[in-house]
């Protein structure tokens, strides 16, 4: 969608699915459809002339007239972009209205009265609606979903494969893998026997709730299972996006700076638990564990902390116990709710 940073939804690919995307119509309705090919995009280059090719066969429109405008945008960085539009006269009031011009560039000031419309909506309201849907989906099935976030290279995937090996077969586990490219991580997960679905975000820097909604439809995790969502390696963007998970767990490896919680406070504030990974390397590093924990608690006084080593096994028992406890809580909550609505269906 965006040609500047490319962070558009059009590039998201869910593994195994035909490429799917949404169209929004002028009347507000939305429809989704799938494509077989990857490399499409609706890119409107600045400077293009768009001509509305409405069928005019047979009957004449009394007021059909087109105007071509050329005007300038001044970007915040000072760049001036000049482009042209064509608007046909079918515009609602038959007025000469120019969509491309803000008040500062108005060609015909005073033609229409401007007015204020109250909105008062959260910017991420749509994402939050998808997240609520996911949360209900997961709660109904007693699934404990954890959103794992970290910078790239913190050892998330190794931690995951170790965790899956320990949880299975007593607990069923599946994984949603978010990466910009490749299915390498999903392949590593599948080697453990767990089901995994890869979401490639293209140039997108985070997973959002609607991607998870679509992934849940395909994955259909089992009742009372554990779902890991491995977010894109990035300590900034995923903090803002609720996916409908029970909680975020941030993985910070001791080979990174101990001041990361202060540098990326949003993420450490959004997380319930911080896993300090690769602690087996501490003897070789200048990493002050306690200081790192203090920094994390500055931004999030209630954050839980567990030092672990995914490769050597330190702290893994504690982490697995924590996961089991959360999974049991999710299961019991499901049973309690089910018992309330239909006493027979609870078991």
């Amino acid at each position: 969608m965006c040609t500047t940073c490319g962070c558009g939804q059009g590039e998201t690919k869910i593994e195994g699915a035909a490429h799917e995307h949404e169209h929004r119509h002028a009347d507000g309705s939305v429809h989704r459809h799938a494509h077989g090919h990857d490399d499409h995009g609706h890119v409107h280059h600045h400077g293009d002339v768009h001509r509305d090719e409405a069928p005019v066969s047979g009957h004449a429109h009394g007021h059909e007239h087109e105007h071509e405008h050329e005007h300038e945008h001044v970007m915040p960085d000072g760049t001036v972009v000049r482009h042209a539009h064509v608007h046909d006269g079918l515009a609602m009031h038959g007025d000469h209205l120019h969509y491309g011009a803000g008040p500062a560039y108005s060609h015909a000031p005073g033609l229409s009265q401007s007015r204020m419309v109250q909105i008062e909506q959260d910017i991420l309201g749509r994402n939050d609606r998808h997240a609520r849907f996911n949360r209900e989906f997961l709660a109904e099935r007693g699934i404990f979903a954890v959103n794992l976030v970290s910078s790239p290279g913190s050892g998330k995937t190794t931690l995951l494969t170790e965790s899956i090996a320990r949880l299975q077969p007593a607990t069923e586990v599946c994984v949603i893998e978010g990466d910009q490219q490749t299915t390498n991580d999903a392949d590593r997960i599948r080697a453990t026997g767990a089901r995994a679905l890869q979401i490639n975000t293209g140039k997108g820097c985070h997973l959002d709730a609607s991607m998870i909604e679509r992934a849940l439809e395909r994955l259909q995790p089992a009742t009372d299972s554990v779902l890991f969502i491995e977010n894109v390696g990035n300590l900034v963007c995923p903090a803002a996006f609720d996916l409908g998970e029970a909680c975020k767990v941030v993985v910070l490896s001791v080979t990174e700076g101990e001041d990361k919680p202060l540098k990326y406070p949003d993420m450490f504030r959004a997380a319930r638990l911080m896993l300090l990974n690769k602690v087996d390397l501490l003897p070789y590093l200048n990493f002050d564990l306690q200081r790192c924990i203090d920094y994390a608690r500055r931004v999030n006084p209630s954050i839980e902390v567990m030092p672990v080593s995914a490769t050597k096994g330190d702290g893994i028992d504690q982490w697995i116990s924590w996961l089991r406890l959360q999974a049991i809580t999710a299961r019991n909550t499901r049973k309690r709710v089910a018992a309330r609505s239909s006493p027979v269906a609870a078991e």
């Binding site: 969608m1 965006c2 040609t3 500047t4 940073c5 962070c7 558009g8 002028a26 507000g28 600045h46 768009h50 945008h73 970007m75 915040p76 515009a91 609602m92 009031h93 007025d95 209205l97 969509y99 491309g100 011009a101 803000g102 008040p103 500062a104 560039y105 229409s112 401007s114 007015r115 204020m116 419309v117 109250q118 909105i119 008062e120 909506q121 959260d122 910017i123 991420l124 309201g125 749509r126 994402n127 997108g204 820097c205 985070h206 959002d208 990035n234 900034v236 963007c237 903090a239 803002a240 996006f241 919680p261 202060l262 406070p265 949003d266 504030r269 920094y295 500055r298 931004v299 006084p301």
Partner: protein
């Protein structure tokens, strides 16, 4: 500008809200969009402005003025038992130096209103 930019997603979400509202109020053009962005929210303003200009091109909101009202950050300090100002996450209480703070204000990310024609 700081990368990566989830501000692009935010800008797209803002545009969705703005377009829906503009259409339902039969507006032909959006002249201004006013946001409320908390000082402690996940937003890099310059990135957001840049992204907003990019995603609105060719839409009803093309060229719209983006106004950002900043809500200052506030937190409840446990030791002080009082509401205090907080300019950044990770800062201490300006009164007692404690980090036992619960953020109470400053994380807002809202579209407040739009000016349409």
């Amino acid at each position: 500008m700081k990368l990566p930019m989830h501000e692009m997603s935010l800008a797209e979400s803002i545009l969705q809200v703005v377009e829906e509202t503009a259409r339902s109020s039969a507006a032909d053009q959006v002249r201004a969009v006013r946001l409320e962005i908390g000082a402690l929210s996940h937003v890099e303003r310059d990135s957001l402005r840049f992204c907003f200009d990019a995603v609105t091109r060719g839409t009803l909101a093309d060229g719209a003025r983006l106004e950002i009202d900043a809500t200052p950050g506030r937190a409840w300090c446990m030791p002080c038992s009082e509401s205090v100002e907080l300019s950044r996450l990770g800062d201490a209480c300006p009164r007692c130096g404690s980090y036992q703070l619960q953020v109470t204000q400053g994380e807002e990310m809202r579209v407040k209103d739009i000016e349409v024609a």
